[in-house]
């Protein structure tokens, strides 16, 4: 394997958890809900995924457990914001704090234990192709899941009835209600989907990226995923591009550190965060770009008249 291939491979590995978490949040926000709790759902997915895989020995069971952990955490968020009408920003923060604490508690017994790595797909012959073989046909399965999910979300939002309803609910929940759509139910479903992908993203960290459990191992990736959604102007294709770009920045920093470039390691480690801020500034200066897709009722709770 050439060094370039290796770099590209690691970029994909670094980008996939961002893409997974962000594609779910994109759907959540399209339905008009702002869930700032990605970090919390992700870290819950990571710890539950690791624990299940460690106990059963099956990485796939870990993936499933992580997905359900993400869903369960997101439904807590749904219960508060959709049924009890709490402030979405504050509730998202609560989910993050709760997730980080609870995951630490659950994971305290798993620190330092060996993990189970999700095996890479290996298609005979195809994955042996020179240059592109490993890159396209020999990734771990969740990479394909993330790409399929992105394509699926893009298709669903733009070409299906379900997508139209999600967009309508996010645009104007009062009108959607008047037409007889169940705003809260649609939003619950979207929130649960966001929880599932965040859980998957967490599983990716603890079962593929670094197959072990480390406290706070999400390291702000949930927040970067949130920024990616804004950056993408709520368009899935752009989101995927953004995720790979960010993965690239992340890996660049790591490689530079590894090669002992004469730059303080702290500066390189801060690259993803600086890049996030820069990306947000760039996208915000061009408001027209995001106007049409911005869900008009983003972050507002919906209480129907009775």
């Amino acid at each position: 394997m050439s060094p370039y291939e290796a770099i590209l491979l690691t970029i994909i590995t670094a980008s996939t958890p961002l893409l997974l978490a962000a594609i779910g949040e994109l759907v959540v926000e399209r339905s008009g809900v702002l869930n700032l709790g990605i970090e919390g759902m992700m870290v819950m997915g990571a710890v539950c995924g690791f624990a299940a895989a460690h106990v059963t020995g099956s990485a796939w069971l870990g993936v499933i457990a992580a997905t359900f952990a993400g869903i369960a955490t997101s439904l807590l968020f749904g219960l508060l914001t959709q049924t009890l009408m709490t402030n979405q920003v504050a509730t998202g923060l609560a989910i993050t704090l709760l997730g980080l604490g609870l995951s630490g508690l659950i994971g305290s017994g798993f620190v330092g234990l060996p993990g189970v790595k999700l095996a890479n797909v290996s298609i005979p012959w195809l994955s042996d192709l020179p240059y592109v073989g490993r890159l396209i046909f020999g990734q771990d399965p969740l990479v394909y899941v993330s790409i399929a999910l992105t394509a699926g979300v893009a298709y669903t939002l733009n070409h299906t009835r379900m997508g139209l309803i999600i967009r309508a609910v996010g645009q104007n929940h009062a009108s959607a209600h008047n037409l007889g759509y169940r705003v809260v139910a649609v939003r619950y479903a979207c929130i649960a989907f966001g929880g599932a992908t965040s859980g998957l993203a967490g599983a990716y960290l603890s079962l593929v990226y670094t197959p072990q459990w480390i406290e706070n191992m999400t390291a702000g990736r949930g927040w970067i995923a949130l920024a990616l959604v804004v950056f993408s102007t709520w368009i899935p294709g752009r989101l995927a591009a953004g995720a790979y770009l960010f993965g690239g920045v992340w890996i660049l920093g790591l490689y530079a550190q590894g090669m002992g470039v004469g730059i303080p390691s702290q500066l390189l480690s801060s690259l993803p965060y600086v890049a996030t801020i820069l990306a947000l500034v760039i996208i915000s200066t061009n408001r027209r770009l995001s106007l049409i897709n911005t869900p008009a009722s983003l972050g507002q709770g919906f209480v129907p008249d009775r």
Binding site: L36, G40, L76, L80, T83, L84, M85, T86, N87, V89, A90, T91, L93, A94, I95, T96, L97, L98, G99, L100, G101, L102, G104, L105, S108, E215, G220, W223, L226, A227, V230, P264, Q266, L267, S269, S270, Y273, V274, T276, I277, L280, V281, S284, T285, R287, V303, R306
Partner: protein, 374 residues
């Protein structure tokens, strides 16, 4: 199929009905209820972990208050929480979301440490005053970055202020491992120890310090401002009805700057007080997440500076209690963070009780009385 659907529709449903006026009693009751719920669920979690729930709860919430030593410890922890919490309470009231107090705290500590580290020989009360001012200034300036990005480019302040936390922590890490490392410190990542007038006046067992008075004064002053002055009125209006705020001639932009400067300044001051007080030097870790815990303090205190004092003390207990049960029962200190998250969770939930009342209604339209319904 249709019949089944009809049958389901005959069910009752729990709904929220807006109260005609926010209920005064609930304003006090809701945080209490949140605490009770946290304690109950906490007990269940202890039980699930196979620990004696009552003992654990006692160790967690009561034991820290049974000795003067630990009460002092609680107050020392409450100091920064209250100082940061009152600033955030004003922010959140104005609907400005500064989530990056942890970073502002870090930069405040770094700025204030310039004097003991670079001008170590300057020993005078003025040096301490200058440190306090630099700490506040550092936090405020660092907080103005997200304020500027928001007002100038329209960038969401939640994400930027949070990203800056990571950057600030890496900055501190670089300083204590690089240029500001104590040359005689056996290569540990620490700065020189502060001495003399570079440390806050202490009393009690030597842990109670001047910073506690700063916190108390800040809370009282902000209480007065919020309650009685036009500035407080402005904060309230801009936060709850932005268009009416514009109509009143209150500038949203200036409000964002004001809130970030204030809360950042207080967070920076808290950071300086930590390093010039209990810690006494710079090191890679200077705060056990005070900046994030203060978010909970602000909400638990109902965004009211007086309430924040009590909330700060409660959250400080959770830190000390967490350490206590870690030693006594061998439970991970992560339990503290979980309790804190849970508390915020329940406060938000109970806040619903202030605005709404829960009601069971029948979703079934009234049963026709005449009896010939289809």
């Amino acid at each position: 199929m249709n019949k089944l659907r009809k049958h389901l529709e005959l069910n009752v449903q729990l709904i929220l009905e807006k109260r005609p006026q926010s209920s005064g009693l609930m304003n006090l009751f809701s945080p209490l209820l949140a605490i009770v719920l946290t304690v109950v669920v906490g007990g269940l979690i202890f039980a699930a972990m196979g620990k004696p729930p009552l003992t654990a709860l006692y160790l967690y919430f009561i034991d820290p208050l049974t000795s003067w030593w630990s009460v002092e410890e609680v107050l020392v922890k409450a100091g920064p929480l209250v100082l940061i919490g009152v600033g955030l309470a004003v922010c959140f009231k104005a609907n400005v979301w500064n989530i990056g107090a942890e970073g502002q705290l870090t930069v405040g500590a770094l700025m204030g440490a310039i004097i003991p580290i670079l001008w170590g020989e300057w020993q005078s009360p003025l040096a301490l005053l200058a440190m306090l001012c630099l700490g506040a200034l550092g936090g405020a300036l660092f907080a103005l970055i997200p304020a500027w990005l928001k007002t100038h480019f329209g960038v969401n302040e939640i994400l930027t202020s949070l990203m800056l936390v990571y950057i600030a922590q890496l900055l501190l890490d670089w300083f204590v491992r690089g240029p500001w490392k104590d040359p005689n410190g056996y290569n540990f990542p620490k700065s020189v120890s502060f001495e003399g007038w570079h440390l806050l006046p202490m009393w009690g067992d030597g842990r109670m310090h001047f910073g506690l008075i700063v916190s108390l004064v800040a809370a009282l002053v902000l209480f007065w401002i919020m309650r009685h002055t036009l500035k407080g009125f402005e904060i309230n209006v801009v936060g709850s009805a932005p268009r009416a705020g514009t109509f009143a001639g209150f500038s949203q932009t200036k409000m964002v700057w004001f809130c970030f400067a204030l809360s950042g300044g207080l967070a920076g001051l808290a950071g300086l007080i930590e390093v010039a007080g209990p810690i006494g030097q710079l090191q890679p870790q200077i705060s056990p997440n005070y900046g994030f815990t203060a978010i909970i303090v602000a909400f638990l205190g109902r965004l009211n500076p007086l309430g924040v004092i009590f909330a700060g003390i409660l959250l400080a207990i959770s830190y000390i209690g967490g350490e206590g049960i870690q030693i006594e029962l061998g439970i991970s200190s992560k339990i503290t963070q979980m309790f804190q998250g849970m508390l915020l969770f329940f406060i938000l939930m109970c806040d619903t009780l202030i605005l709404y009342q829960l009601k069971w209604i029948s979703t079934k339209p009234n049963q026709p009385t005449s009896g010939h319904a289809s």
